[in-house]
Symmetry: C2
Subunit: 647 residues, 2 copies
């Protein structure tokens, strides 16, 4: 057996052994796709460290191939040890069940939910294209690497992948290479149970180059194909025909997909592959892999040297390059001063703010799902990102919400910087899966979600959000803002920016009254907007309902009632305040407690308690004038006053 | 001008007028796609009434073409009046902003969120294929109609549509015809901003027939193309090249997409189209359309006659056909008696129940997103639905969660009967958009969502649901069940079945203890499972946390504490009970209040109030053994006892 084949077989045995020891994991892909990923690591994948800006990016969209990834990382000298492999899938290990961003060297993004990795990779390829276009100079290709994405049959069936693939073709992202492990088997059986499409033709119809490898077990064929793909003038997919569970008696069957091998089966595998070790790698193999991986080190040092030359030759450009990754301080109150109208819709005001951010943060890019004119999330003068203009700062994602957010996750991860997306709040349902990943990876992808309530009106219940704010607020590590005026909006942006958090901005379509609000108060997430002495009623309100609550308060005051009105631009920000501050706002001593928000979020019971009075919307909306719909749901002063005075 | 052209122009003017009067709506598509939909209504679409089983189905996936739809319905004698047209987009009208199921004659499904309509139509085509296969006999094609789906550029970019298109090709659904209004314009500009794919090639690669109509303004070309499509041996898409906003100065521009015309522009349109009327239809036109629509009436009466003959010739088969649509009474406690093991995982027990349902309800079909072996949602002996076997009751949706639910919505709407879907709870994020539509349309699509908490373990945070239960519970008109044992599971199924509601079943992967539960108590949604005299602590728990709470209670009892334990299989069902019953369970007098659920749902503050103690999960999960992860999050007896005793 030649050395490459030996390396491949060792990787197989080690991966299978890891999975068996953990008694959990995906043996099928680890044995089937070994040659593909080995060839990539051996001859192509250039990775020195997470800090090396011109490293290749590898996205394991089929995240269940994690055992194989970790094994190869160990063999090729990444920061993964034999002990790490032994702790596969154990609590607190560096080798979790699916690759997790920030946990393991070389893992650029958390994957597991199928298909999203393809969109993450498209995002990285967009970011690479932009960087290359902006900063490469003659003879100085400071950015010129590849984005590899490993996918299985499952990934390619998912809508999010199809959305991203179509956009990648449109944008002609030639730096993007999909490595498709085509074993024709999914969890429930043969792929053709549910899918008979001609993948080659389908990709070609979307502007992709297609390379086919009939024997995905041949190192020579695999490495050659990847070599060809690197020279493609279009995004490229390599279709590797492979055999799931190669080397076991379950080869080619769905039975092996998620099955750890037992002792006997493991022995049979070793016999079949002529390798008797267990969780160890022969020094011959390791040295061979290490040697090949020196390629990355050489590449890095060469790049560093080249970069010094680049700085000498192109001092301005190289300075801009370095500045691109810096996050300047922004004084939001200052930069937006005098830029708003007397009355503003929050979407309109938001446009002012993001344009100011874009002025200061040169790396700030984003886009919408074909609703730019409605959500107004657009960087004026930033240009449109297209195959002809990789400098553009506005990305036309098309009507593809799911891919939009997953792509933005990729862009943010690539730059290590914020990126924005935008659509109508009601359509956040199409992209809540990648928003979960934004939150899980703790990255600053900001979702500007407009048309934020039943006030949307005529477009009817499908276009009127009701439960979406609640669906976002309950995502762990996610911050939701719903500002009531421009000062609150600025405070929210300032929190998101300073803390570089995953956030959503819930923005009104309609104009809202300006309120007399302190910027610093608003930054606490909840604060007292108005308070009567000896108040015995407390009202919590957000967004467009704040002015409604204020009107009701005035009327109730006229009736001799005493109230406190708390504005809550962000429940999550408020919950991060000190116990003492929270107590001073919650005022638990007050028994008559009210919350007003045109949404269906039980989180308000945390504020108003068991006996509290909730003004929310617990039904789907209606088609009609916004004001009439609001009336129908009791969102008018009269109704509030009536109910509150009878408390 | 010939009469057909006149009809088309009248439809244009009436639609534009409706939108202008409402000062809201989508003029672009109403003027651009008129000839396509007119040709369909004029010569092909066979619709007598919602009760006619062999009617064609029309899905307006591009739901913003509603004004045009209502106009044509009026012209062709559907149950839509001129007054209805005048009330377009008004509160309570029959002509809402987007088509709403149950509101307007001929509207088979609510649409508006783009792309989903394609999947709804695929569901209807699957249902039609099954019915035809099961019940047609030689010379008696009692079911042999078409499913038409009107789509725009937006629909075809959405992932959900791409998923559904791929599956339709695999299943060779020749009864399905997509009418693609290809105007190359979307809200933000030219379609090629974000999409340059070769639609013809892409569809062909997925097993579709493609027909192209270069002039979508020609009645003759349009009607001919539809005629050809009806004879296709594969699912067929007709690509009509059209001009958005035809007849206005904005023709071919995105400016007209959602713009009502002003008086002057409306006059110019009338001048251009040589039709001077406003919101009226000349009798000549109306008579011509009526006459053509008699085709549908004739078709229906012919079918009725044929059906009598069918009943005489095939008495058993026709009886089965009629019985297919009946919903038999099911005594769940009885039919499942003795069928469970001593200890059951809820997914396993659920399989027992759905197989019993399937035995009694012959129309019951469903499927999973390639996780049949894991979620166990499978009808044994029901066969697999495929191009070769349209009788199969188990649908392999592939790894396409979004399309899965939208297709199931289509199946359920077509049959007027329940259908099920299944995936892991964490992946409900991929399909929460169509679940919203399930709830909005109030149809019995049941989602069996397994692997319901952090106990999933090794697969890590991406596979461990945390916020998903909350995200489902806050959807209006949706019922979520999380049973703790088989008796509760049966009670939940019995509620879903008797009330034919949109529901989700949250089911454990791991085995749970059987509890001593009364079926009738469980049907109340929440009930007292155990109670000490003079209790001063109340605990609410669901699913796998019920036995944990019971253990904690026993330990606390040994310390002399007195408690009530309430099991809550469904918050929503409980909330529908009488005030008196709710009071008897909530026991507001008890001040020490606790909730235990391995999820992040603030709804529990409705039960425990401001000062309550919540045992939930407010962070993402971890990769490790299920029990270790649970311990990490404090889900063990010791921690519960410790915290509760210190209340």
């Amino acid at each position: 057996m030649n050395l490459n084949q030996k390396c491949i077989n060792v990787a197989r045995v080690v991966s299978a052994e890891m999975i068996s020891r953990a008694n959990s994991g995906h043996t099928g892909v680890a044995l089937g796709a070994t040659t593909i990923l080995y060839s990539l690591f051996k001859d192509h994948y250039t990775y020195y460290s997470q800090e090396y800006r011109n490293r290749d990016r590898l996205v394991l969209s089929a995240g269940h191939a994690s055992a194989l990834l970790y094994t190869l990382e160990y063999m090729f000298g990444f920061n993964v040890s034999l002990d790490d492999l032994k702790n596969f899938r154990k609590l607190g290990s560096k080798t979790p069940g699916h690759p997790e961003y920030g946990v393991t060297d070389g893992v650029e993004v958390s994957t597991g939910p199928l298909g999203q990795g393809v969109a993450n990779a498209v995002g990285m390829a967009i970011a690479e294209a932009q960087l290359a276009e902006k900063f490469n100079a003659q003879k100085f290709n400071v950015i010129n690497h590849k984005v590899y994405c490993f996918v299985g049959d499952g990934c390619l069936m998912e809508g999010v992948a199809n959305e991203a693939i179509s956009l990648a073709g449109t944008l002609k992202l030639k730096n993007l290479i999909l490595l498709y492990d085509s074993n024709s088997i999914t969890m429930d059986g043969k792929t053709n149970l549910a899918n008979t499409e001609d993948v080659e033709r389908k990709f070609k119809s979307q502007g992709w180059r297609v390379i086919k490898v009939s024997n995905g077990n041949s190192y020579f064929s695999c490495t050659n194909a990847i070599g060809q793909a690197k020279n493609s003038k279009k995004p490229c997919i390599i279709i590797f025909k492979t055999k799931i569970g190669y080397g076991t008696k379950y080869v080619g069957s769905n039975a092996i997909h998620g099955k750890p091998l037992n002792a006997e089966e493991l022995q049979a595998l070793k016999d079949n592959l002529f390798y008797e070790g267990d969780l160890s790698v022969p020094s011959e193999v390791r040295e061979y892999c290490y040697r090949s991986h020196r390629r990355s080190k050489v590449n890095y040092f060469k790049w560093e040297k080249q970069f010094v030359l680049y700085q000498n030759t192109h001092p301005d450009l190289s300075k801009e390059f370095l500045e691109f990754f810096e996050i300047p301080h922004i004084n939001f109150a200052k930069i937006c001063k005098g830029k708003f109208k007397e009355k503003n819709s929050m979407r309109e005001a938001n446009k002012v703010v993001i344009n100011q951010i874009a002025n200061h943060l040169k790396s700030f890019v984003g886009g919408t799902a074909d609703v730019m004119n409605s959500t107004m999330a657009y960087i004026d003068g930033g240009g449109d990102f297209s195959a002809e203009n990789y400098r553009g700062r506005n990305i036309h994602y098309g009507i593809r919400e799911h891919a939009m957010v997953a792509i933005a996750n990729g862009i943010s991860l690539y730059f290590g910087l914020p990126s924005f997306v935008s659509t109508f709040l009601t359509f956040v349902n199409y992209c809540i899966a990648p928003i979960r990943m934004t939150a899980m990876m703790n990255i600053p992808v900001w979702s500007y979600l407009t048309h934020d309530s039943i006030y949307v009106g005529e477009d009817g219940p499908t276009h009127q959000p009701v439960e979406q704010i609640a669906q976002l607020r309950c995502i762990p590590n996610y911050t939701v803002f719903r500002p009531c005026c421009t000062t609150e909006l600025l405070a929210c942006h300032s929190i998101a920016y300073e803390q570089m958090r995953p956030c959503a901005f819930i923005l009104s379509k309609q104009e809202l009254e300006e309120q007399d609000v302190s910027f610093d108060d608003a930054k606490k997430g909840a604060y007292i907007l108005a308070e009567d002495e000896n108040a015995d009623i407390i009202i919590f309100a957000t967004g467009s309902e704040v002015s409604l609550a204020l009107e009701a308060k005035a009327e109730l005051n006229r009736m001799g009632k005493k109230l406190v009105l708390v504005s809550v631009p962000s429940v999550e920000v408020f919950e991060r305040q000190s116990a003492k501050y929270k107590e001073s706002i919650l005022k638990r001593g007050i028994k008559k407690r009210v919350a007003v928000e045109a949404s269906n979020d039980p989180v308000w019971y945390k504020f108003i308690g068991l006996e509290g009075l909730m003004f929310g919307v617990d039904k789907f909306g209606l088609s009609g004038k916004g004001s009439e719909v609001a009336n129908y749901f009791g969102f008018n002063k009269q109704n509030l006053v009536e109910k509150i005075k009878n408390l």
